[in-house]
Subunit: 251 residues, 2 copies
Amino acid sequence: METLAHEKIRSAGPREGTQLSACVTCPHREAGFCAEAFRLVSPELRINEGGPKFVTVASGKQILAQGGSSDHIFVLCSGWAFRYVQLSDGNRQIHKFLLPGDLFSSTSIFEDVAHFSARALTSVQICMFARSEFREKCFTDREFQSAIARSWVADARDTAGLIAVLGRRSAEQRIAYLFLHLIQRIAAHHVIRERRYPLPLRQQHIADAVGLTPVHVSRVLSTFRERGIAWFSDGVLEILDFPELERMGLL
Amino acid sequence: METLAHEKIRSAGPREGTQLSACVTCPHREAGFCAEAFRLVSPELRINEGGPKFVTVASGKQILAQGGSSDHIFVLCSGWAFRYVQLSDGNRQIHKFLLPGDLFSSTSIFEDVAHFSARALTSVQICMFARSEFREKCFTDREFQSAIARSWVADARDTAGLIAVLGRRSAEQRIAYLFLHLIQRIAAHHVIRERRYPLPLRQQHIADAVGLTPVHVSRVLSTFRERGIAWFSDGVLEILDFPELERMGLL
DNA sequence: CGGTTAATTGATGTGGGTCAAAAGCAGTGG
DNA sequence: CCACTGCTTTTGACCCACATCAATTAACCG
């Protein structure tokens, strides 16, 4: 269990400077995202004295462990990560991919024991806030509470969608759904050129997210290519026939 | 689409009286539950002038329609209901069974358009509160906000569990999980005798909840009977070998 | 007593899992 | 520059859990 405790933790310097430098070190150069990460948490929030803590976690490393507790709220500043449930048989089920600006979990504001694990997909920068501060702000700041609520509602929506997809849809529909879902979220931050989306996943992650085996994911992706629907490789997804993908992936 | 608009809506009389009479008419006689239903919403909450509205909905009727909007929050007072997502191909995926005392959805406090449908499983009594009141109380009443947060956290937990089960578990594991999950929730209100639990579901509902066909659910339930694990029929679940069920249904 | 809805059971089909081999590719070190 | 290693993806052969289709029974009900 190599969780955050094992990672280097440093206190942030001046906010603007730290954000920008964090972005520069991010492998995806998502400078625009870092601002997003703080829109939610609002500028005057402070942990103890020195401001929020920043943490860098290497690609593939575990960030949170299911059942573990922390008195911090995590916000992803740069890079990608994902939340998952670890099953007793060693399998895992990914239930959310985290993009810069996302809270790791909005519920973590009110629960100290995490019911999920989280892992870095790329090298990531994380910002940590004291739960007590966050919770207090939830009572006193209406704007803040609304922001949390929006994130909560979006989460509930996505989650219900994923349940429906896992319960009722075929392999290709599941993957189409996942692609469409991620595309939407990426497009919300990014300006996209030529329908090419950065998607730093392995086929294994897709499999873990939609309840298939990596072998079968590979086969389905092959048919997507043959049929001229979408081309996924090396962390880039290129959409060739959007209407068709949408037809398959729509609930 | 026969939603609530088509149902008889009447204003509540004196609270205590109405609650109790509601319970008497409930086919499951869950008198103890109704108190639960109001623990969350707290006694001094009022809609407009006349107090909360009560609604009775017959078994099998739709209560909320996905995409529909309402400016009320629904609380289930008696009977069972369920939330589901309606798919474009006519299938549905149940993602939560509602027991007396449950909010239909805690997110509905902050979203006016529902992302799910809801239907009565038995004849049910529902209590409706104005969203504006609910939301306001969320800002001003810490106790209330904590209660909402608890319900939210529990929901997120259950939801993550269900996703894992749908993505990674076999038919019998899914059904075992569902049984254990419901048993836990029932036992939280009820005193249970002889491991017999009232579960007013058809096999169709089980199928819709765990992503199987009713035919296959029937087969799995048969093996549960043959193996002396559990006996489900006529809305009653009897557990014969709890350890075995738990072994199968555990995440 | 027919009509309806739920559950059971059997026969058959198939989507996706499992197993295994091979190929591509990046990193590493000599 | 090349062999070696580890990781990911691809491909093929085979299998099985669950779906589908269909017929039968059971329970309920006006």
